[in-house]
């Protein structure tokens, strides 16, 4: 219709948007929350799915890190290896050595790979300098960022070894190499200076190959390298696939969790946005009929109503992207700290795809009812707009009317049956919200259980050591991926430049035994043992006395109860192809014992294999720590002070145990769970709010009639709230089992990703009362969502409502 140009259409759209302010705000809010949660979930999914790949790609990490003997392969020869077939880039040779520095507190760090590089950049392995600067002169060192801690910071010094005249190195920066080509970097001259007979200088070459995605391809590439310089010249190689596997092990645990939340968020967003938009258009039929009656063409009507939905939705989408980025960035930076990789930011394509998809969803959701409205004959549209009653739900009114409840409540209970589509959308919103809440509660409970079980020793209120406590703490955190050996364990095996005095364990034990207030205690030492069938050393906890109070959570079997028994983690069983009941040969120093596996421990300590056995199997082993339970009514602090007074002159110490804090990953996942749940529950509440607003608007005349014949504001409110209560109950009844099942599905996957099965205290976290409360959570979501429109309905002026068609 030519006489209705864009001006008339624009006015219709503008007036529609401004007149229906509540609807406009709800569309904008629901879209904003849905888009924000989709951006957060999407970016976390992307980041969690491949943090190593992101970092490795960005740094152009080395597919093969090779160490050559400089005596057998000259620099020129090594440079030629960069031209081999399949090599797409190479860097080096860099002088490399290994050393074991000592920090200012006298604590020995693990053996570090030191590489001499003049800068962090290069064709391969562009090391990410996280803080400080690169080493410019001898005497300066850059450490891997994972070593940064209270005693190891920029400006701190390290002694190159524990010998008296060892050179001092000043820490000038912290850096991350995704490919783990080194633990520390210095100038090439410094590397040459630090080399020793036991740790000679080698030449490190870094290569990128194409292809290099499989183990076989890497092996073939390695062969080429060895052939080019002679097999004796190539000392060792490190494949990026091994580094990736180790790095992914830490991050992989978060993937199933984020995926679950991401899917929930995306599905919910689609449902809510669709129902909000289609509902908004669907309730405008009367207005549409008037527009058609005065001459708007069907196409103009469709355009007007799609635009009317797109304007607030567009604003909501824009705000949602901003909000999603604001919320995602801190979570991602926390993830970055945990993953130890290069900076993670919201992927640009998430910021593009999510709003684009949201616009498509909004457009489609608006288009379908708008097309329907556009196709309606004007007379029909007027009839539909005037009389929305279809006869649906009359049976429900009859049935509910028989319930022994107040009439406004039974009237409200029957209301959802009038609009099955809208009710279904509301039900899905509530159900998804309840699923999210149930899953999040289970997840955080499980994570708390994981956190508690990670540190069984902290359960003992008092720790007594055979060394002074300032000699044993704090070790630096191990680098992500576990490619570097852990620092020396606390206790007796600590060595420092000036050997600390070590108390006689027997005397310490005697002091504990004779101290009033001692409840029970057991001795413990952490050491390295050899296990037949496993190359390299294995961590072992050896226990003296009844150690049940400090036992790990058991996945199966039981904790050690005496000699000849060993408890091992899941990874040990997998790696050795053993099972409970099998016997393994364990060697501690020169003592070997055949131990029967009696239990599978829940151990989330990464790639380490820590086994637990009775100290009596190794007569030369002695405890370095005693974990003490005090008698009831005895103050742990006072007890520790008294014991310390006795054991300190012997060289030992005593302290109380603070409850162990949760680890970064656990805290981050809990924070993510809470945030995502709040967002999803808000979206669910907005979905309900929107549906009830639509319903209230449609029923405002009926409500006016009810009020005119004597329905009080309170009864009106109870009518509206009752209309969503059943939806809340059903949503809860559906959502809780689904959330429960989702938790049961996701947790074992997270465990497997972390390399362990999960014990029942981690899996069976729901209490019946908790489930009941979560079920009621569905009602809470529904009632909270309906509260505002119920208030409007209660306050609506009866005379005005009666005039409303």
């Amino acid at each position: 219709m030519s006489r209705f140009g864009t001006g008339a259409l624009g006015r219709v759209v503008r007036s529609g948007v401004s007149r229906r302010r509540v609807q406009t705000v709800v569309i904008a809010m629901a879209t904003m929350m849905a888009v924000a949660s989709a951006v957060v979930a999407g970016s976390l999914m992307v980041a969690a799915a491949a943090p190593f790949d992101h970092a490795f790609g960005k740094q152009r990490g080395a597919h093969i890190t090779a160490q050559f003997d400089p005596a057998r392969a000259s620099a020129a020869q090594l440079a030629e290896t960069g031209k081999l077939a399949g090599v797409t880039a190479s860097a080096g040779p860099y002088p490399s050595t290994a050393f074991r520095p000592v920090d200012q507190e006298g604590f020995r760090l693990p053996t570090l790979t030191l590489v001499g590089r003049s800068g962090p950049d290069g064709d391969v392995d562009r090391v990410d300098l996280k803080s400080g600067r690169w080493a410019r002169k001898p005497g300066e060192i850059v450490l891997a960022a994972s070593f940064e801690g209270p005693t190891i910071g920029i400006g701190a010094t390290l002694k190159a070894s524990d010998t008296l005249n060892a050179p001092t190195l000043s820490i000038v920066g912290f850096a991350v190499s995704a490919g783990k080509t080194a633990d520390s970097w210095a100038t090439p001259a410094q590397v040459d200076a630090l080399a020793s007979e036991g740790n000679p200088v080698t030449s490190q070459m870094l290569y990128r190959f194409d292809p290099a995605s499989t183990k076989e391809q890497i092996l073939a590439d390695r062969k080429k390298l060895a052939a080019s310089v002679g097999p004796a010249a190539l000392l060792s190689t490190q494949s990026w696939l091994d580094t990736k596997r180790a790095a992914d092990q830490g991050a992989a645990a978060t993937v199933p969790f984020v995926m679950a939340f991401g899917m929930l968020g995306i599905v919910m967003s689609v449902i809510i946005v669709s129902s909000v938009i289609s509902g908004a258009v669907g309730t405008s039929l009367r207005r549409i009929s008037i527009l058609k009656a005065i001459g708007f063409t069907p196409r103009e009507v469709v355009r007007a109503y799609v635009a009317q939905a797109l304007i607030p939705a567009g604003a909501g989408i824009a705000l949602g992207v901003v909000l999603g980025n604001l919320l995602a960035v801190p979570l991602l930076s926390d993830s970055e700290a945990v993953y130890g990789t290069v900076s993670l930011s919201v992927a640009w394509w998430v910021d593009v795809t999510v709003p684009a998809a949201a616009l498509v969803v909004v457009g489609l959701a608006a288009l379908i009812p708008a097309l329907r409205a556009g196709r309606l004959r004007t007379v029909e549209a007027i009839a539909v707009g005037r009389s929305p009653r279809t006869g649906r739900g009359q049976w429900a009114h009859r049935a509910m009317g028989r319930l022994p409840l107040p009439r406004p409540v039974t009237y409200g209970l029957a209301t959802p049956f009038t609009h099955p589509g809208r009710t279904l959308a509301m039900l899905l919103a509530v159900a998804f919200g309840t699923v999210a809440a149930t899953f999040a509660v289970g997840l955080t409970s499980s994570l708390t259980a994981v956190g508690t079980s990670q540190d069984p020793e902290s359960r003992a209120p008092v720790t007594v050591t055979t060394t002074k406590l300032n000699n044993v703490a704090p070790p630096p955190p191990p680098p992500a991926g576990g490619s570097v050996a852990s620092p020396s364990p606390a206790g007796g095996s600590v060595a420092s430049p000036s050997e600390p005095e070590v108390a006689d364990p027997a005397k310490v034990r005697s002091a504990i035994k004779s101290q009033a207030g001692t409840g029970s205690y057991y001795g413990r030492m952490r050491t390295e043992v050899a296990v037949a069938g496993i190359s390299g050393s294995v961590q072992a906890g050896l226990y003296q006395g009844d150690s049940r109070s400090g036992s790990y959570e058991m996945i199966s079997g039981h904790w050690i109860t005496g000699k000849g028994q060993v408890v091992v983690p899941t990874r040990f069983l997998e790696r050795t192809s053993t099972k409970i009941g099998d016997t393994v040969r364990v060697t501690y120093e020169k003592e070997t014992a055949n131990l029967r596996i009696v239990g599978e421990s829940f151990d989330t300590s990464g790639s380490e294999l820590e086994i637990h056995a009775d100290m009596a199997d190794f007569p030369s082993a002695e405890p370095s720590t005693f974990l003490v339970e005090v008698k009831s009514g005895v103050s742990a602090d006072e007890y520790a002070q008294k014991v310390a007074a006795v054991v300190q002159p012997l060289g030992g110490d005593a302290t109380t145990n603070a409850p162990s804090g949760q680890e970064g990953v656990i805290l981050i996942m809990s924070a993510m769970a809470v945030l995502l749940t709040l967002m999803l529950v808000s979206v669910a509440g907005l979905g309900v709010l929107n549906s009830v607003v639509l319903d209230t608007r449609e029923r405002i005349h009926d409500l006016g009639v009810c009020k005119a014949i004597g329905m009080s504001p309170r009864q009106t409110m109870s009518l509206v709230l009752a209309s969503v209560t059943a939806i809340g109950v059903i949503g809860g009844l559906v959502g809780v089992p689904v959330g429960y099942a989702l938790h049961g599905l996701v947790m074992p996957v997270m465990g497997r990703a972390a390399g362990t099965s999960l014990p029942s205290p981690v899996l069976d976290v729901y209490e019946p009362v908790q489930l009941l409360l979560l079920g009621l959570g569905g009602v809470v979501i529904a009632v909270l969502g309906a509260l505002v429109p119920a208030g409007w309905a209660a306050r609506a002026r009866t005379a005005t409502a009666l005039r409303t068609e």
């Binding site: 009439r407 009810c706 014949i709 329905m711």
Partner: protein
């Protein structure tokens, strides 16, 4: 005679700067009377009805219905007052389409807390009285206009109100149905029911009313008393 409605200098303004839509008006309606309000559109008929029903509040003056000043009551108290003392019948019936005839009629009783059985018995009594008992289980959408208005009147009477307000009760009906409703109102009047009848239909007012006021621009332009109800 006991007064069911007393309006004392009642005025209603919708625009504080403009002239009042109604009043100031002082009048009273005696118990058992049929009080008709006529007048052209915009004369203040509906405003007057809303004030008496407690659906709106006056800008000035006092509204006393059934011996109680209602213009100072809260919304909650007004709702309670309405369901106990006032019955309303509307031009377009305002029946709830989702509910059967019986459910519509007994709804006000149920809102007061009357038991289901007792409310149903009262609804049955009224349906029989108004000749609509055969439609007890039907939905309003299936009834004729006249039948719907009878259901509306039955609903209005279910709590035995002191006052029945009828807003253009024949306005949406054909002539025959209009006569039916007129006869019904006259029957109710004979039975002692106080009725306020707002109508354009002067014939209806003349037929039913014991007193008729004619409003123009919010003021009483004419006030007449009938000799007797026919």
């Amino acid at each position: 005679m006991h007064q069911v409605i007393e309006l004392e200098s009642v005025a209603k303004r919708y625009d504080s700067a403009g002239a009042p839509a109604l009043g100031p008006l002082t009048l009273s309606v005696a118990k058992g009377a049929v009080f008709a309000v006529t007048g052209p559109s915009g004369s203040g008929k509906s405003t007057l009805l809303n004030l008496v029903a407690g659906l709106d509040k006056p800008t000035d003056g006092a509204v006393i219905v059934a011996g109680r000043r209602i213009d100072q009551l809260s919304e909650h108290a007004l709702a309670k007052f309405r369901r106990e003392h006032i019955g309303m019948a509307f031009q377009f019936f305002n029946l709830l389409d989702d509910l059967t005839v019986t459910d519509n009629i007994q709804l006000p009783a149920q809102l007061t807390g009357t038991g289901r059985r007792k409310a149903a018995a009262r609804a049955g009594e009224l349906m029989e009285m108004l000749g609509i008992q055969k439609h007890a289980r039907a939905y309003p959408g299936r009834l004729s206009g006249g039948e719907r208005q009878r259901v509306a009147v039955a609903r209005a009477l279910v709590n035995r109100p002191a006052l029945l307000l009828a807003d253009e009760p024949t306005g949406a009906l054909d002539t025959a149905s209009g006569h039916d409703v007129r006869d019904l109102l006259m029957d109710l009047h004979r039975a002692g029911q106080t009725i306020v009848l707002v109508t354009h239909d002067l014939t209806l007012a003349e037929a039913c009313a014991s007193r008729t006021i004619h409003l123009v621009d919010g003021h009483i332009a004419a006030d007449s008393y009938a000799q007797a109800v026919r």
